[in-house]
Symmetry: C2
Subunit: 352 residues, 2 copies
DNA sequence: TGAAAAAGTGTGTTCGAACACACTTTTTCA
DNA sequence: TGAAAAAGTGTGTTCGAACACACTTTTTCA
């Protein structure tokens, strides 16, 4: 027990060479005679030598800066608070390894703010980038520049296909819709009408929303052949409260038999408020533990929230870049996070 | 960006003293003139000095050993694979800080194996202990000895009340039954009969099982006043497959109207097999992502699994003791982990 | 064949914090 | 009042890995 850790000096002694020579072998820097190299490699294996990361980091004097570019946090949409919290917490733990994280925010309502912040990041010449690619076109331009500068980047929360990101950290988007389908079906009777509601501003993330919706439909296609559910889709291209409520009213008057609503964005709380105000007994499923959703879930006007491990996403993104930069570990291209199913009863254990 | 980190030398320079004096102030070791002390403290604050953990750990040459005492992993019950995996993975990350974890296993069918392993641990005089207190009486004797030796310990997975554990890392047990209640109600019609099934060997964890059951009842008491569900309880004090199936048969013949079963232990898979073999259309909820449960969930004969973040429990237990021993951070007495709701559709993202 | 280049090897310094130790200055008290 | 004790302060070494540099030995090739 407490078996003393093996150091380079130990290996040097066992192999009857100096520490410098051991070092050369370990780092494959050549300039070592074949027989000594063999002896050193044997000793490394026999004593299971692993360099001490602390001494290593101290000696290397690394200075890595990673930039994160994510949507602005606001009172109506505080989703990104959590991934950022996870990322900053993880980065704090790597601080003494010379690893620093700098977070940049863009407005989801303003492509040009994305472009501005992206430029700032490029100018900083960071060692790695974490990107939430909400604006697809602008993101592609951005990552092209990163690639030119040989700056590794990961996508977080959603991905753009066919890019050279070293990893994607986030949910399996199609599956998140699939899970929603399962939860929805568990609440409805045969034949009851369902509404899929896309509340978005413009074209951001549109392919993502399509995937979610497709997952939702897939569930019913695969599992509900005996029932014939009607699944409608309503797209509201606005984030203005009044306008959304107006659209909802219009729709519900024309379609009074809707029994379940699946909101594919984090704005289920708006629908929940509408249902509560009008005493509508309609099942509701939404995404993300944003504050407004949390209170609606508590109050009972949202039935299920699917949460995509936001904190873990931030932690994982930072850890991935840390491992790449500091430990030269190439990550898996895809790192899916859990699709947590949140109800009022287990909510508390997912907060902070 | 890249703002050079502040070192003790920097502070010494700013305060016009030597590094040794700064060190004395930082560690409150006295022997420093009042005026210099003030200058140093000011400099520390002004430059936001934080000692480099790497250099600190390297210099201190710490040697901490923590022992974990948990149930044996077997092919019928591999639950503890996951917490152990989490703990070992976390410990691996702290290795270079001089932190080592040693895991000991006892048989859930043999109190004396617990006593044996506990004695071994006491003899090792570890710096901390992680304990799954399945056997209450024996655990209390064990922790009394730990307290005598001033060895801090945490409970994991379940707790014994009124002990001097520095923390409990695990689920809110009552709430886990409550969540099960919610899930069960979501699947049943008004008035349908429910069975709560306790499959246990002997008296281990009995108060825990009572809490789970109570949580389950609480849910119905608080939320199902309009329905009158009959909730029966069956206790099977055996882990022998044949015997369990026999008891189940007996019970089901006498109670043919059971529509939902909640198994309060990780043995739901046995019931699932029984249902599948006899083509019984009975909803089933169980605990823990053990292998047999996973396959039954996949196959559809278990509807919901409640998982208590097993990996995270291991990680958290190790991290808690590490922070206590290395960083002198006193943890919260209670650290609840998420009660994950697992269905076939999101299962994959909770494995490994 | 012998000077230059290449290969092979060890020594010493550095990262930043901790702390033992030596040394100086001040205080205590018989 | 002057020796001993206590207080105050700086220097130097250590942890383990990385690597620059100096030095020695071998190889190359005109």
């Amino acid at each position: 027990m407490g078996t003393k850790r093996i150091t380079i000096q130990d290996i040097a002694r066992y192999a009857k060479v100096s520490a410098g020579t051991v070092d050369r072998v370990i780092h494959n820097r050549g300039r070592v005679a074949a027989d000594k190299k063999k002896r050193i490699e044997d000793a490394v294996k026999e004593y299971n030598f692993n360099p001490n990361m602390l001494a290593r980091a101290l000696s290397l004097r690394n200075q890595f800066t990673v930039c994160a570019l994510v949507p602005q946090i606001s009172s109506e949409n505080d989703y990104w608070k959590l991934p950022v919290q996870g990322a900053e917490q993880a980065a704090e733990g790597f601080k003494d390894f010379g690893f620093a994280l700098e977070t940049f925010y863009f407005s989801l309502f303003d492509e040009s703010s994305f472009i501005d912040q992206a430029r700032k990041i490029i100018e900083l010449k960071p060692d790695g980038v974490i990107l939430a690619p909400s604006f697809v076109k602008e993101s592609i331009l951005f990552v092209k520049k990163l690639e030119k500068g040989k700056i590794p980047y990961v996508f977080i929360d959603s991905a753009i296909p066919n890019q050279k990101n070293i990893s994607y950290i986030g949910p399996n988007v199609e599956r998140s819709g699939f899970v929603a389908g399962r939860l929805m079906m568990s609440m409805l009777r045969a034949g009851e009408q369902i509404l899929v509601l896309n509340i978005v501003k413009g074209m951001e993330n549109s392919s993502n929303l399509r995937l979610i919706e497709q997952g939702f439909h897939n569930y019913f296609a695969e599992n509900a052949s005996e029932y014939v559910h009607t699944i409608n889709t309503l797209v509201i291209t606005s984030t203005d409260r009044t306008l959304i409520l107006q659209e909802l009213t219009k729709y519900y008057i024309k379609n009074p038999n809707i029994k379940g609503v699946f909101v594919t964005t984090s704005r289920a709380h708006l629908v929940a408020g509408f249902h509560a105000d009008h005493e509508l007994d309609i099942r509701l499923i939404g995404f993300d533990l944003v504050e407004d959703n949390i209170s609606r879930l508590r109050e009972g006007s949202i039935d299920w929230i699917i949460s995509q491990s936001p904190i873990q996403q931030g932690v994982c993104a930072v850890k991935t870049l840390f491992d790449l930069l500091v430990n030269k570990i190439v990550p898996n291209k895809t790192q899916y996070v859990p699709l947590d199913i949140i109800i009022r009863e287990n909510l508390d254990y997912y907060l902070t």
